[in-house]
Symmetry: C2
Subunit: 332 residues, 2 copies
């Protein structure tokens, strides 16, 4: 018996059968409840990867793009990168006595996020530039890595990288096991994500796309460095997402995953005028286990996108109904 199994394994491996054979046996998405949502994912993967299927897609064209905030991890009560920026403001305050009297910094230092953000996008940009620029790319990577190692979410008290969605981790792995190349396409900072996405999501830096600030090449003490400048380079949201996908990947994805109106253009670019394609919105419906918000939320608002999903038959995940768990079971 043992020899027979080994032979089957060898033959299967050599002929490239191992992947599909295993995925037919074990449930590739154990944290997803059975139902239409889960079924739509499995059907799409099955039809695009089955040789001879009319919807078969060659492996090099299996490109899947994922938003990050609200799609792969939580984004409440504020984008985690903004919470990082606030922590940085506190850390840098001793070097900036003028912040005590200067908005939005003064309010942030008093712990009044709402007043600080009253300045809108301009205020956020100012905070981001003051806390994200002026260092080298290597220094910034260390700052982010060090912060993530100790920072805790204000309400869950979990490390931020443990507030990723377990069902989405399974989905990423399932797609990759079926030959998909998975990319992040996020409004968040590209260099804020890259230090940890490989470990947490299995997505390497070269498959992470995000907003960016300009950098400058410099030789310091005989060593080349890239200095991060306080100047926006690209804002990877809304129309910016298909533009960035074209710029970085150079192919249209056949699958796209988001949770807000900021992802709508990425989903349109993927699922309009492409016969074989799959689009999915994560709908935050679980106030007990995570947060519940959609049309009127200032963070991760999902309004027009929800209508478009209905019209176009895109898959909408009801987090409360479709997911058995939200976060990975802490393994510490």
């Amino acid at each position: 018996m043992r020899r027979t199994l080994l032979t089957a394994f060898l033959v299967g491996t050599v002929l490239g059968f191992a992947g599909p054979a295993i995925s037919q046996v074990a449930d590739p998405l154990p944290s997803w409840n059975d139902g239409d949502t889960k079924q739509s994912i499995i059907e799409f993967v099955s039809k695009t990867t089955t040789q001879g299927s009319t919807d078969f897609v060659p492996i090099e064209k299996r490109i899947a793009t994922f938003d990050n905030d609200g799609t792969l991890w939580s984004e409440q009560p504020a984008y985690f990168q903004l919470l990082f920026a606030v922590d940085r403001v506190h850390e840098l305050a001793p070097q900036h006595p003028e912040w005590k009297e200067k908005e939005p910094f003064a309010s942030l230092l008093k712990g009044d996020m709402k007043a600080a953000l009253a300045g809108g996008e301009h205020a956020i940009l100012e905070v981001v530039m003051a806390t994200h620029a002026g260092n080298t790319t290597a220094e910034f990577k260390k700052i982010v890595t060090d912060w993530l190692a100790t920072a805790k979410h204000p309400t869950t008290k979990r490390p931020y990288t443990e507030m990723v969605f377990q069902p989405m981790l399974e989905l990423l792995a399932y797609l990759r096991a079926n030959g998909f190349k998975t990319f992040i396409v996020s409004g968040g900072g590209i260099e804020f994500m890259r230090p940890w996405t490989e470990k947490v999501y299995g997505i390497p830096p070269e498959q992470v796309i995000g907003s960016s600030i300009k950098t400058e090449y410099e030789i310091r003490d005989g060593k080349p460095v890239l200095v991060r400048l306080p100047e926006l380079d690209f804002f990877d949201d809304k129309e910016g997402k298909p533009i960035a996908i074209n710029q970085y990947i150079g192919r249209r994805p056949i699958a796209a995953f988001g949770n807000s109106d900021g992802d709508l253009q990425m989903l349109q670019w993927t699922c309009t005028d492409q016969a074989v394609s799959f689009c999915l919105y994560v709908h935050h419906t679980d106030a007990d286990r995570e947060w519940a918000y959609d049309r009127k939320s200032s963070i991760g608002g999902l309004d027009k996108g929800l209508d478009e999903a209905g019209k176009n038959g895109w898959t909408v995940v009801d987090m409360k109904q479709d997911w058995k768990v939200i976060y990975p079971v802490a393994n510490r």
Copy 2:
């Protein structure tokens, strides 16, 4: 005997030995003459991929970046993309009667490239914008593909994609067989290269970095398109190369390959302050089989880079001495 071989093959395949076992037997770089140049490449690949070697590099960090013009294919008597632009000027001329009197177009239409380029960088940019923008990304891809299918080089009369360097094709394949991810980082247009790099070099679109113009997302007749605007987005040359490498890849390469001073910063970024790294310049020394040029050439000038290569012990390919053949044997 047959069964024994099959068993060995199966075991080798399952254990992942097939690659290295084969490369120890067959010469991975058959078009390279034996000598220091070839040896330096093989030693670098060997030490970075041998488990237990002090210079072993984990597979995810094996990033290799290649310039294109003059490094992977020829670039004389002018960058091939410029020859494409000139052909486009002729093709588009009937729609632009004003070009008959307007420089640099008037000179180009008379076949006087030298007069046309007297306007320097500004003239080139004007020609590029007039011939590369104003279409959608899908349309431009078709224009490039159609041109490459029929266009011939003015002196060799070969299709341009058959003026790639056979020894470099072998080098790309050799690196990939050893777990390296190969990227193009070129001053040429990113969307001029992507339609053909996968077929010709085995490098997929998402691993091609180049200069770019801005695009705009638009819905036309209910279908999303990206429109190419006549506005420079990024010039991927000199300091731009390390900046783009950081932006697109997010890791420092451990190997970099170029042929001109425009590649110098990419080579510095790769080989300065990184103990395990490899930098190589292709030196055009073969006036009989290709072209011979370096310090004083206005195309692909290699002056400061040649000095730096000497100082830093980078490998310099002498095309005449090191390469058995230049171009692939035509297979038509």
